[in-house]
Subunit: 117 residues, 2 copies
């Protein structure tokens, strides 16, 4: 079973990895084949859908970086962590909290994002 | 489909309702028959397990009240809200955030609680 904090770090890396092949490799490390992601503005199903979703976000916000800001808080097969997206100028563009359900092997099988207002 | 904010309010009521019959009635209103709850210190499966869990918490913390402190934030079939438990003297004993998955009829089918440190 993968260490959950490592999976969370790699998950954040996924959002920052703009090389398509490397991004797909990180997605395979951190998500199960039937994984789903949903937040108020986007969603993705399975590695293909999640990759397309992240590539779209990177196109819309070029050179922005995602950073872990809180957690991860882990209990049972549940994880919570805070994150923010920072512009090249250093401004926080979005901040949110993700809740993840873990598969038996420690990878994410379902992630819900909430945006902080 | 029940209004989600109402279900959240009734969920908070469940934790405060010490009359066993009324508590069971609120649980039936707010949770599906196969619902599960888990936080770092307790868990309950189905209406019986959830009722037993809440009755146990009430025994351990008599005359404490649960209050909604933030949200609910709702998107798709996902809800997040903040809560706290207040002693009879007005002290906040616990504070946390719950994350719930909704069934098609708007009731909770899975709730994860996280405690604020």
């Amino acid at each position: 079973m993968a260490h959950v904090a490592t999976v969370v770090d790699r998950y954040i890396d996924t959002w920052n990895e703009t090389d398509p092949q490397r991004r797909r490799a990180i997605i395979a490390e951190t998500w199960t084949d039937d994984a789903t992601y949903v937040d108020p503005i986007m969603s993705g199903d399975g590695p293909d859908g999640i990759d397309t979703m992240i590539a779209g976000a990177q196109t819309q916000f070029p050179d922005h970086r995602c950073e872990l800001t809180a957690g991860p808080d882990i209990h049972h097969d549940r994880v919570r962590f805070g994150w923010r997206v920072v512009s090249p100028e250093g401004t926080t563009v979005f901040a949110g909290t993700d809740f993840a359900l873990l598969a038996d092997d420690g990878r994410f099988r379902d992630v819900t994002g909430f945006l902080e207002s």
